[in-house]
C-alpha cells in the first residue's frame, strides 16, 4: 500500500495499518462512487408542493435529506457522519421535485464552527429562540423558524447515526463519543473532532461547500488538556484526526471533470496568531502535517500562516510535506495580510482570525458573505484599448497615452462589475431570495438580526473584483513599448496589422519578441514596474467603490483555471503569443517566460504593493523533484518561504512536479490514480483533469525546471 510521492523516498509510516487501509480505499474512490450513486432525495410525495413558499420548499428539502439520505458507517471509522448524496458534489441542495434539483447551495465561505465546539448547537438554538421573541417582522420570524427547523433536521440525522452505531458493539466508542455532540459543547479532543466533523458533514450533506478554517486553533486546546490529563496519547490523537482527513475524501469518485476530481473548498488554515496576537501553533498543527505527509491526502488544501516569527521547526515540517508533491501546503504571509486587512478597515482583533473562502481569498470566517467577479484584462486590452487591433480605430503616439487609455477601460470594467452586482442590483436581490438557513446557523449575526446569510444577516458582504490575465497585459504593454516606441522596429498601425493576422508572415519578429525581451517573472525592474503600477492603479479603482453601499470591494488577482476558457476568445498578443495559447494563471508569469528560476519569479511578484490587494494574489511556484532532494532541498524550500515573507508576498502555492511523471500519467492514467497537483486554490488528481487542464499544468512547470 503506497501513497504517491514525487520524492525519491516513500512517505513515512506512523499510523496503524487499519487506518492506512481506510485512507487507501477512500483515496481510491470507494466512498465517492457510493456517494455519486445516490444523487438526491425526492420531494415528489409532498402534497401541494407547488403551492409552498420558496423557504417552505427549502425546509422540506432539508427535512427530507436529514430523514432519508443514506447513512454510511465505514468499516473501522473512528468518527461518524457522512455527506452521502451525489448532487451535493454538483454544488446543489440534493433534493429533487419532478426530477429537478431545486436549489443552488453556498460556497466561498468558512463557517463559524468554533462556536459549535465551544458552545454546542443547543446554544445556537437558545439564541434563535431568544431572537424570535424579539422579532415582529414576519419575514424575520420565518427566517429564524427555518433555522430552528434545520437544527431539528440535524437532530433527526444525528438520531439516525446514533441508531446505526448502536446496532454493532464494534462502534460502542463512536456511539459514546457522538452522544452529546454537536449539541453540547465538546469536552474532549475526541469529541471535538467528532463535533467538528459532524457539523461540517451536515452542511456538506445539504449541498454547501464551506471551508473548515483554523483547525489547530479550534482543536488544539482540547488536545492540550487531554494530553495533560493523560486522557489520550499523541498517537491516538493522530489517528482520530487522521480519520477526519480520510472521511474528507468521501466525494472523490474517479473519472474526469473540469477542474479535476477533488473535494473542493474544504480548506484548512494552520498556525498564525490569535485575536491577541499570540502564536496559536500547537500539537494539532503538527499532527495535521504528519497526517498529510503520510497519507498524501490532498483534499484539504492547507495554508499555513507564516510570519516573521514562525519557528524554523514548523517551516521544516512544511518543507518535508511539500517535497512529496501534491501541492497540499501553501503559504500565507500573515504579517502582510494583517496589515492589508486593517488598512482596509477591519478591526485588528477580527483581522487576526482570518481564514479563506475555500480558495485563498481572505475573509473573516463565520461573518462573511463573499463573492468575486472575475474578468479578463488581456481581452480588455485587446478588444477595448486596442479596438480588436483595428488600426483605423486605435493609434497611440506614446506609451503613456496607451497606458492611460487602458486605465480608462479598466475603470469602466470595474464600474460595470459594481453596476451588475451592487446592493439592490438584480444579482443581489435574486441571491437574497436563495434560501440558505443551514449556512445562516453558523454565521454570526444572522440569528440576532433575524436575516439569512444572503439577505443581510452576515456581518460583512464582500464582492471582490478579480483581475485576470494581468501578467499578459504587463508583457503586452512592455513589448509594445519596446518594439514600437523605443526601438521603433515597427509602426503602431503596422504592429496592429501583424497582431490582427496572428503574426502570419512575421515569424522572425515574433521570435525576436519572444527571445530578446525579458518578461514579468525575471526580476527585471523595467518590466516589473509596469506590473507594480498596474496593480496599484487597479486596487485604487476598486477602493473607490468602497463606501458607496454596505458591500466591500477588495481588489484581487486571479484566474484560477480561467486562462483555459479565455484562450480561444483572445487574439494574438504583442509579447509573441498566438491566438489560442493558454497564458498566465493568477499572478504567475506567462508559461515559458520565467527563465531565471523560482527566486526571480518571487521577486517580480513581490514588487507589487500587496497590501492594497486585500482579496489576495496567488503565486504558483513549481519545483522539480531533484531540486528538493536531501537536506539541501529542505533548506531551499525554507529559504523560498522566508524570502517570500520577507519580500512582502501574499499567498504562494508551492508544488513539486516532475513533468516527465505528468506526461507518463497522461499516457497511463491507470498507473497514477492518486497523483495530485495544485491546480489553483485547490488540488486535484492529475489524471481526472481533462486534457486542456493537464496541459496547462505541464506548461506551467517553469521552463528552467523542465
Amino acid at each position: 500500500m503506497e501513497f504517491f510521492t514525487a520524492y525519491k523516498e516513500p512517505r513515512p509510516v506512523r499510523l496503524p495499518e487499519m487506518t492506512r487501509t481506510f485512507a487507501y480505499e477512500s483515496l481510491h474512490y470507494k466512498y465517492g462512487r457510493d456517494t455519486w450513486e445516490n444523487q438526491a432525495v425526492s420531494l415528489d410525495h409532498i402534497p401541494n408542493f407547488d403551492q409552498l413558499s420558496t423557504l417552505e420548499k427549502y425546509n422540506a428539502a432539508i427535512f427530507e435529506i436529514a430523514s432519508n439520505a443514506p447513512i454510511r458507517v465505514c468499516e473501522n471509522e473512528l468518527i461518524s457522519g457522512a455527506a452521502t448524496l451525489g448532487a451535493a458534489i454538483k454544488h446543489m441542495v440534493p433534493a429533487t421535485y419532478n426530477g429537478k434539483l431545486l436549489f443552488d447551495s453556498v460556497s466561498h465561505l468558512t463557517l463559524g464552527f468554533d462556536n459549535v465546539l465551544k458552545f454546542g448547537v443547543n446554544d445556537i438554538k437558545k439564541r434563535i429562540n431568544k431572537s424570535l421573541s424579539n422579532q415582529t417582522n414576519k419575514k424575520n420570524i420565518e427566517t429564524l423558524k427555518s433555522m430552528l427547523h434545520c437544527i431539528n433536521c440535524l437532530e433527526i440525522w444525528h438520531g439516525r447515526y446514533i441508531e446505526a452505531l448502536s446496532r454493532s458493539k464494534k462502534y460502542a466508542g463512536n456511539l459514546k463519543n457522538l452522544q452529546n455532540v454537536p449539541f453540547q459543547p465538546a469536552t474532549s479532543f475526541y469529541e471535538a473532532v467528532q463535533s467538528l466533523w459532524f457539523t461540517f458533514a451536515f452542511t456538506r450533506l445539504c449541498g454547501n461547500w464551506p471551508g473548515i478554517g483554523r483547525i489547530d486553533a479550534m482543536l488544539g486546546p482540547y488536545l492540550k488538556k487531554d494530553l495533560a490529563q493523560g486522557i489520550i496519547t499523541i498517537q491516538q490523537a493522530r489517528e482520530v484526526l487522521a480519520h477526519f482527513f480520510i472521511k474528507g475524501c468521501e466525494w472523490v469518485r474517479g473519472g474526469d471533470y473540469e477542474g479535476g476530481d477533488a473535494q473542493h473548498y474544504q480548506n484548512i488554515i494552520l498556525s498564525g496568531v490569535d485575536e491577541n496576537g499570540e502564536d496559536i501553533t500547537n500539537e494539532v498543527t503538527y499532527l495535521v502535517l504528519d497526517i498529510i505527509e503520510e497519507l498524501g491526502i490532498s483534499d484539504f488544501p492547507i495554508t499555513v500562516r507564516v510570519n516573521k516569527n514562525t519557528e524554523i521547526t514548523l517551516l521544516k515540517r512544511m518543507a518535508e510535506v511539500i517535497r512529496h508533491g501534491g501541492g497540499i501546503v501553501a503559504v500565507y504571509n500573515e504579517d502582510l495580510i494583517l496589515d492589508a486587512l486593517t488598512d482596509f478597515g477591519y478591526d485588528l482583533k477580527e483581522a487576526r482570525t482570518f481564514a479563506n473562502d475555500g480558495c485563498w481569498e481572505m475573509q473573516i470566517p463565520g461573518k462573511t458573505c463573499f463573492s468575486y467577479a472575475p474578468f479578463d484584462a488581456l481581452k480588455l486590452l485587446q478588444d477595448a484599448t486596442l479596438a480588436g487591433y483595428d488600426k483605423n480605430k486605435t493609434c497611440f503616439d506614446t506609451y503613456e497615452g496607451l497606458y492611460q487609455k487602458f486605465l480608462e477601460d479598466l475603470k469602466e470594467a470595474v464600474e460595470n462589475i459594481y453596476k451588475e452586482c451592487s446592493y439592490d442590483s438584480e444579482y443581489w436581490n435574486l441571491r437574497a431570495e436563495t434560501p440558505c438557513s443551514v449556512v445562516s446557523l453558523f454565521t454570526e449575526e444572522c440569528i440576532e438580526r433575524g436575516l439569512s446569510y444572503f439577505d443581510g444577516g452576515a456581518k460583512y458582504y464582500v464582492i471582490s473584483p478579480h483581475i485576470g490575465g494581468l501578467p499578459d497585459v504587463v508583457n503586452s504593454l512592455y513589448a509594445i513599448r519596446r518594439l514600437v516606441f523605443e526601438e521603433k522596429k515597427v509602426t503602431f498601425p503596422g504592429f496592429m496589422d501583424i497582431l490582427k493576422n496572428n503574426w502570419e508572415g512575421y515569424e522572425p519578429l515574433r521570435q525576436y519578441v519572444l527571445n530578446h525581451y525579458e518578461y514579468f517573472g525575471n526580476d527585471n525592474d523595467e518590466v516589473d514596474r509596469i506590473a507594480v503600477q498596474l496593480l496599484d492603479d487597479f486596487s485604487d479603482i476598486c477602493q473607490s467603490l468602497n463606501g458607496r453601499s454596505i458591500i466591500l470591494y477588495p481588489a484581487g488577482v486571479s484566474t484560477f483555471g480561467r486562462q483555459i476558457q479565455w484562450a480561444p476568445e483572445r487574439m494574438a498578443s504583442p509579447h509573441g503569443r498566438k491566438k489560442g495559447d493558454v497564458l498566465a494563471g493568477n499572478l504567475s508569469p506567462t508559461p515559458g517566460t520565467d527563465l531565471k528560476g523560482a527566486t526571480a519569479v518571487i521577486k517580480s511578484y513581490c514588487k507589487a504593493n500587496m497590501k492594497k490587494l486585500v482579496s489576495g494574489a496567488a503565486l504558483d511556484i513549481n519545483l522539480f523533484p531533484t531540486t528538493v532532494y536531501d537536506n539541501e532541498g529542505i533548506e531551499a524550500i525554507i529559504g523560498l518561504i522566508q524570502g517570500f515573507v520577507k519580500l512582502g508576498g501574499f499567498f504562494m502555492q508551492l508544488d513539486v512536479v516532475d513533468n516527465n511523471i505528468l506526461k507518463q500519467a497522461q499516457v497511463h492514467p491507470e498507473n497514477f490514480p492518486t497523483l495530485s497537483v495544485r491546480v489553483s486554490g485547490w488540488n486535484a488528481r492529475f489524471v481526472t483533469l481533462n486534457k486542456e487542464w493537464q496541459d496547462m499544468i505541464i506548461q506551467r512547470v517553469s521552463k528552467e525546471n523542465a
Partner: protein, 294 residues
C-alpha cells in the same frame, strides 16, 4: 576589473549550503574528456550555433566577414571567418546564434548576485564556478572579497589546479571549497584531463592546513575511474584531511555533449560512461568500508 561570465544562475541548491547564486566563468586549464561545461574550457569568446533554432531569416548576413552563407542546402556558419564580434547574435531572433560569455565588471556581478539576498539566510550566498575560476586568480579573489563585504557566504568550485601561492588569500575569503577530485591515478589523470594531479593534491593538502572547509566532489565515470582502487584512494586522501566535511559521489552526465555540437566540435560524450544510482550507492559504501578498515 572584469571577468568573462558565461552564466549567473540563481536558485542553485546543490552548489554549497542553502540557496545560492552560481557565477560561471570561462576558462579552464584542464581538458577533461567528460567535461560538463565544454563552453567554459577556452578562455576566449566562442559562439553557440543551434541549427534547430534557425528560422532562416538571414538577419545574420549583416556579418562583415561573410561568415554566414546561405545556399540551397541551408544556412552554413563558417567559424573560420568569424571574428566573434557578436553582431549577428544580437540580431538573431530565435537565439540560434549566441555568444558564450560576456565581460562583466565585478560590481555588476555582485549587483546581480545580491538580487537574491532575501533568500540566502545564514547559509546561502555566492558560488563561483566554471571552468576553473582560478584561471582568473586576481579577479576571482577580488570577487570573493567583495562578496564577503556584502556578508555573503562564499563558495568556489575548483579543480584545484592553480598556483599554490594564491591559497592563503583565497582561503581567507572562501567559506566552502567544492573541490572536484577527478582521478587518483595520475597516469589516467594526465591522459583524460591533460594535466597531472600532483599539483591538485598538493593544493588540497595546503588548503586543509589552512583550515579551509572542503567538500570533495568525485565524479564517477564508468570504464575510466569507476574502480575499487580509486574509491580506496579517495578514502585514503580523505583520511589525510582534517577539514573535509563531506565527500560526494556523482555520475558523469552526457549533458555537455549537445553543447559541444553547438560549439562546432564533435560530440565525444559516451553514454556508457554513466554510472547508475546503484553504482553511486556502492561507491558510498565502499568508501565507508575503506574508512573503517584501518
Amino acid at each position: 576589473m572584469k571577468l568573462p561570465v558565461v552564466r549567473i544562475q540563481r536558485f542553485c541548491m546543490h552548489d554549497g549550503p542553502g540557496i545560492r547564486t552560481t557565477v560561471f566563468l570561462k576558462g579552464c586549464p584542464l581538458r577533461c574528456k567528460w567535461c560538463h561545461n565544454p563552453e567554459m574550457q577556452k578562455i576566449e569568446q566562442e559562439m553557440f550555433y543551434t541549427p534547430s533554432k534557425c528560422i532562416h531569416c538571414r538577419m545574420c548576413m549583416i556579418c562583415k566577414n561573410n561568415a554566414h552563407v546561405f545556399t540551397s542546402q541551408g544556412h552554413f556558419y563558417d567559424r573560420s571567418k568569424c571574428r566573434l564580434c557578436g553582431n549577428c547574435a544580437a540580431m538573431c531572433p530565435g537565439k540560434a546564434l549566441e555568444t558564450v560569455c560576456r565581460m562583466m565588471d565585478l560590481d555588476e556581478i555582485i549587483l546581480e548576485v545580491m538580487q537574491d539576498a532575501a533568500f540566502y539566510g545564514k547559509n546561502g550566498g555566492i558560488t563561483i564556478s566554471g571552468g576553473e575560476p582560478m584561471m582568473h586568480p586576481v579577479e576571482t579573489i577580488a570577487l570573493l572579497k567583495a562578496a564577503k563585504e556584502k556578508n555573503l557566504n562564499t563558495a568556489i568550485e575548483t579543480s584545484g589546479y592553480f598556483d599554490k601561492e594564491f591559497l592563503p588569500v583565497l582561503c581567507k575569503y572562501t567559506d566552502t571549497f567544492l573541490w572536484d577530485f577527478k582521478d587518483s591515478d595520475n597516469a589516467r589523470h594526465i591522459e583524460n584531463t591533460g594535466v597531472s594531479n600532483e599539483q591538485i593534491i598538493e593544493n588540497l593538502l595546503i588548503a586543509d592546513k589552512l583550515k579551509a572547509n572542503i567538500i570533495l566532489r568525485c565524479i564517477l565515470i564508468n570504464t575510466i575511474n569507476f574502480t575499487k582502487d580509486h574509491i580506496k584512494e579517495i578514502a585514503a586522501l580523505y583520511k589525510k584531511l582534517n577539514h573535509c566535511t563531506k565527500v560526494k559521489f556523482f555520475s558523469y552526465h552526457p549533458m555537455g555533449s549537445s553543447k559541444l555540437e553547438r560549439l562546432g566540435c564533435s560530440n565525444n560524450g559516451k553514454t556508457e560512461w554513466m554510472v547508475s544510482e546503484k553504482d553511486i550507492n556502492w561507491a558510498k559504501s565502499e568508501f565507508l568500508r575503506n574508512l573503517e578498515a584501518e
